[in-house]
């Protein structure tokens, strides 16, 4: 058994009822009025927090859902591992606390006229956590490794826009033929198959992170273990105890090590949501992965300061299987079912956490894209139900010829509740007797893919990058996740065109049109757009809500506690606004913030250039 005395000491010191971390006070636990509150944030002239308000011990404990499947950035796919990897590594680009793409290892870049060739100019003098210099060749090696068939990375799909990536993955081309070229020690070029406006965002994801060649070659598939892993991000891996915790400590060799205030981050895998909340309440955690679905009212009453809710880049919907009865060639029936779902009730009474009712596929919040909104979005539910009944009859169903359908979902409390609610609405409005079919996840995936037994099924998509294309491509004819059996050549053609289009505005118009086509074919039942919901220690600041739900620890810091009994500043938390949505100044005064002349060029060429 290897076990870390560090983690043990730390966890032990955070035991409720024993001496706790930091200033020796207990932040949490017990009834709400006993909890200590942070002092007010004071900023210095350079925008950084005043050291006087910072807690002595800068350790952050983050709940992290399931045990991460791997810390090899090129294999990692899950949300838990990507949270950790964002702290460990830095790609050519990286993200600001607001989730915007900013220069990372690359200081600046040029994009060619045809938007297919990216030239990256790397920062000089950067080093790995072991002190070795970080050069462009490291990235060439790493991208090649990620796409090497022998690596067998499923995350490599993210890199498919790179020229010849698909052929290399299939083993049809040598790895050297990838569209990646080394120009000099600090300059490299990536060539893409077509214009990909979100490509810079993709480079900030784990699969595009650099790994240290010597490190990988020395330890093989064991290189991601503590004591071995060499990384280039703000933190290094110091301890990993499976299903207990992962401890990262600050990397003194990181380019902005001075501005990273948190000295130590501990990621705790906690699968059970109620357990996670209980551990947060007893002071074991500063940041939860999520919160239980049913407890909105209760949490809002008891943990209003800590509860943080924010929009997320994801859509929740149910899909129709268009290849089987009763939905094959039956748009009236599908429309009737879509109309008779009362999204207001679903979001206000069932999910409750501020999810937004949705009537289309792409969630709001993507830069520059205004999602399609169908006509019925503006109707009252009464009108929708009325129209639904008309369409239902038109489709040939009535009391004498009732419809029986199956609603299929995978095991989850939330899916269950929503499926129940939808079934109940269909019964009340259209008199449909639906059967709920709850399947274990992998059985569910297989059934969905085979399109034989499914009728109406739970679907949804949370995007890895900030682009409508991520949502729309799922409905292309023959796409691996097109479990609906949808095929519309107009739709495919629009997406093809959008894939080639270099002008942002026109590209967005094409995608809007594609979304319109998709929604008028009634392929999915839009329900709501996702929100992230979690509890956060009010002492923990420096992070900001963003639609990607990416929160690198290096921007965070912990405030001191107010002495017990001192008056509470009134204005800080207005009753209606959740605490975290208030604007928080950036914690970093980035000296290397790109100056106007070195700043990245606009992602796509301007409109006038391309006629």
């Amino acid at each position: 058994m290897t076990r870390s005395s560090a983690i043990r000491a730390l966890l032990a010191c955070c035991l409720t009822g024993l001496a706790s971390c930091g200033d020796g006070e207990r932040d949490f636990g017990g009834p709400r009025e006993n909890r200590l509150q942070p002092v007010e944030l004071v900023l210095m002239e350079n925008g950084r927090p005043d050291p006087a308000v910072l807690a002595d011990e800068q350790t952050v404990l983050r709940g992290n859902g399931e045990e991460p499947e791997t810390l090899d950035p090129h294999l990692a796919q899950g949300v838990p591992s990507s949270h950790i990897l964002r702290d460990l590594f830095e790609g050519l680009t990286t993200e600001s606390p607001e989730g915007k793409v900013i220069p990372g290892v690359a200081l600046r870049w040029n994009i060619s006229r045809d938007a297919r060739t990216y030239t990256f100019y790397l920062r000089r003098d950067l080093v790995w956590s072991n002190g070795e210099p970080l050069v462009a060749d490291d990235f060439v090696y790493s991208l090649q490794r990620a796409l090497d068939p022998g690596t067998a990375s499923s995350a490599a799909t993210t890199l498919l826009p790179i020229q010849n990536a698909r052929e290399v993955l299939a083993g049809e081309m040598a790895i050297e033929e990838l569209g990646i070229a080394l120009l000099d020690e600090f300059t490299m070029q990536i060539t893409l198959t077509g214009p990909t406006p979100y490509f810079l965002g993709l480079l900030a994801s784990p699969v595009a992170y650099p790994v240290n060649r010597k490190n990988v070659e020395e330890f093989g598939d064991q290189f991601s273990k503590p004591g071995k892993l060499v990384s280039n991000g703000a933190y290094t891996l110091s301890e990993w105890n499976p299903r207990v915790g992962i401890e990262l400590v600050k990397n003194p060799n990181y380019r902005e090590a001075d501005s990273a205030l948190v000295e130590r981050v501990i990621y705790l895998p906690i699968e059970d949501q109620s357990t996670e909340v209980n551990r947060f309440r007893s002071g074991d955690l500063d940041w939860t992965f999520e919160v239980p679905n049913n407890q909105f009212k209760w949490l809002q009453q008891h943990y209003a300061r800590e509860l943080v809710i924010s929009p997320w880049m994801g859509s929740y919907f149910f899909g129709f299987n268009l290849t089987q009865e009763p939905f094959i060639d039956n748009p009236s029936l599908r429309m009737a079912l879509i109309l008779s779902v009362d999204r207001q009730i679903l979001t206000e009474k069932v999910t409750q956490f501020g999810e937004k009712p949705s009537f289309a596929l792409v969630p709001p919040g993507i830069d520059g894209y205004v999602p399609f909104s169908p006509e019925y979005a503006d109707w009252t539910q009464e009108e929708r139900n009325h129209e639904a009944r008309r369409l239902f009859e038109q489709a040939g169903y009535s009391e004498d010829r009732p419809l029986r359908i199956e609603i299929r979902y995978n095991t989850s409390d939330n899916h269950k509740k929503i499926a129940l609610a939808i079934a109940s609405m269909w019964k009340q409005v259209l008199g449909i007797n639906s059967t709920l079919v709850n399947e274990e996840f992998r059985v569910f995936l297989q059934n969905r893919e085979q399109k034989v037994v499914t009728q109406v099924f739970r679907a949804g998509w949370i995007s890895d990058y900030n682009d409508p294309y991520s949502f729309l491509e799922l409905f292309r004819t023959g796409h691996g996740l097109n479990d609906y059996g949808y095929g519309n050549s107009t739709f495919d053609a629009l997406l093809d065109e959008a894939g080639k289009e270099r002008v942002r505005a026109r590209r967005e118009r094409l995608m809007f049109e594609a979304e319109r086509v998709l929604m008028s074919d009634h392929v999915v039942i839009p329900i709501y757009t996702y929100v992230t919901k979690r509890l956060v220690n009010p002492h923990l600041r420096g992070w900001q809500n963003n639609v990607m739900d990416h929160h690198p620890t290096r921007f965070m810091f912990k405030l001191k506690s107010r002495a017990p009994g001192s008056p509470e500043p009134q204005a800080e938390f207005a009753p209606d606004t959740p605490p975290a949505t208030e604007a928080q100044p950036r914690a970093t005064g980035d000296p290397e913030e790109p100056t106007p002349e070195q700043a990245a060029e606009p992602v796509l060429a301007d409109e006038e250039e391309s006629q």
Binding site: T16, P149, S154, D221, Q222, E271, L445
Partner: protein, 314 residues
């Protein structure tokens, strides 16, 4: 005589272990493969090229029988292979880290249950059909009348969240983090052991030799301790074999609610994630543990009950 018999019995038992394990491996191997879905299915896009690479890397593209023999060959050398789900860890590593945790919590729970259970059982038997009997047994029976996934969160709320005496979960080998899991795990076992002890104690107390001992004027405590205790716990001992095996290989409920890194979750997670190697590893490990424990139980039983001989037919 007894020594020799036990040795011979041990040898037969250990030899019998091999075909048992082989069958166990075969059944488990094909059962998990029959389950729909594979280890790399997810809700993400997985182009066929990548799928092929993954299958090739983990030999999933070979015919099933070939995979079976490959697996048999591999475990001959004591290697359970890499986990499909936790890619940085081998199954051996995961078991080596998980088992000590489960064994500690389970072992302590068994110890607690044995001590409390027999105490409650004997007390109830001595005061048979009195208020004491009904009340201690009634309390003990709570353990098998309320599911542990209700008891565990209640304990957390009471002792951790509100009182702040103990941590609400997690694992660091400190006693504070063991208290609640051990208690939760022990509760139903206490109830079973108490019932068993009560039943057999009553039976023993009415047997002739106890009557004789009493008639000889031996003090009651002496009668209980010297003569009644050993035979009375015999059924408890035979119950303890499989029960201990179940406890020390971990409980998914306890591990999930207290976030403890034991073995129990791997049975469930491994099966649900189709992590073929992991689930096979823990199943085989469990098989060995239960066979070994049953053997130990036999030995203890023989030691406690001298009427049993291993060497001759009666």
């Amino acid at each position: 005589m007894i020594q020799e018999g036990i040795l011979r019995h041990a040898a037969t038992r250990l030899l019998g272990l091999i075909p048992t394990l082989l069958l166990l491996i075969t059944i488990a191997f094909f059962m998990i493969r029959v389950a729909p879905g594979g280890p790399f299915d997810s809700e993400k896009v997985l182009p066929p090229e990548i799928r092929a690479n993954l299958d090739a890397k983990y030999h999933l593209d070979e015919p099933l029988l070939q995979q079976y023999f490959r697996y048999l060959g591999q475990i001959m050398s004591g290697d359970f292979g890499p986990s499909f789900q936790y890619k940085d860890w081998t199954v051996n590593e995961l078991i080596a880290r998980g088992f000590p945790v489960s064994a500690t919590v389970g072992g302590l729970a068994m110890l607690l249950a044995f001590v409390l259970g027999t105490l409650i059982g004997i007390t109830a038997a001595l005061k048979q059909n009195t208020a004491t009997d009904y009340s201690v047994m009634g309390v003990a029976m709570l353990g098998i009348s309320i599911p542990n996934f209700v008891i565990a969160p209640l304990l957390i709320l009471g002792t951790a969240v509100y009182a702040g005496w103990l941590p609400a979960g997690g694992w660091d080998w400190s006693w504070q983090r063991m208290v609640l899991p051990v208690i939760t795990l022990a509760l139903p076992v206490i109830a079973y052991i108490a019932r068993l002890t009560r039943g057999s104690m009553i039976e023993v107390l009415h047997s002739n030799y106890i009557r004789t001992a009493r008639a000889k004027g031996l003090p009651e405590r002496m009668v209980i301790r010297r003569h009644a205790f050993k035979p009375a716990i015999l059924p408890v001992i035979s119950y303890m074999g499989p029960a201990t095996a179940a406890l020390i290989t971990g409980s998914v409920v306890i591990e999930r609610i207290y976030s403890i890194p034991g073995l129990g979750s791997y049975f469930v997670q491994g099966a649900l994630n189709r992590d073929y190697t992991l689930v096979m590893g823990v199943v085989i490990f469990y098989g060995i543990v239960i066979i070994v424990l049953n053997f130990i139980v036999d030995l203890i039983y023989a030691w406690l009950n001298p009427r049993i001989r291993y060497d001759e037919a009666s």
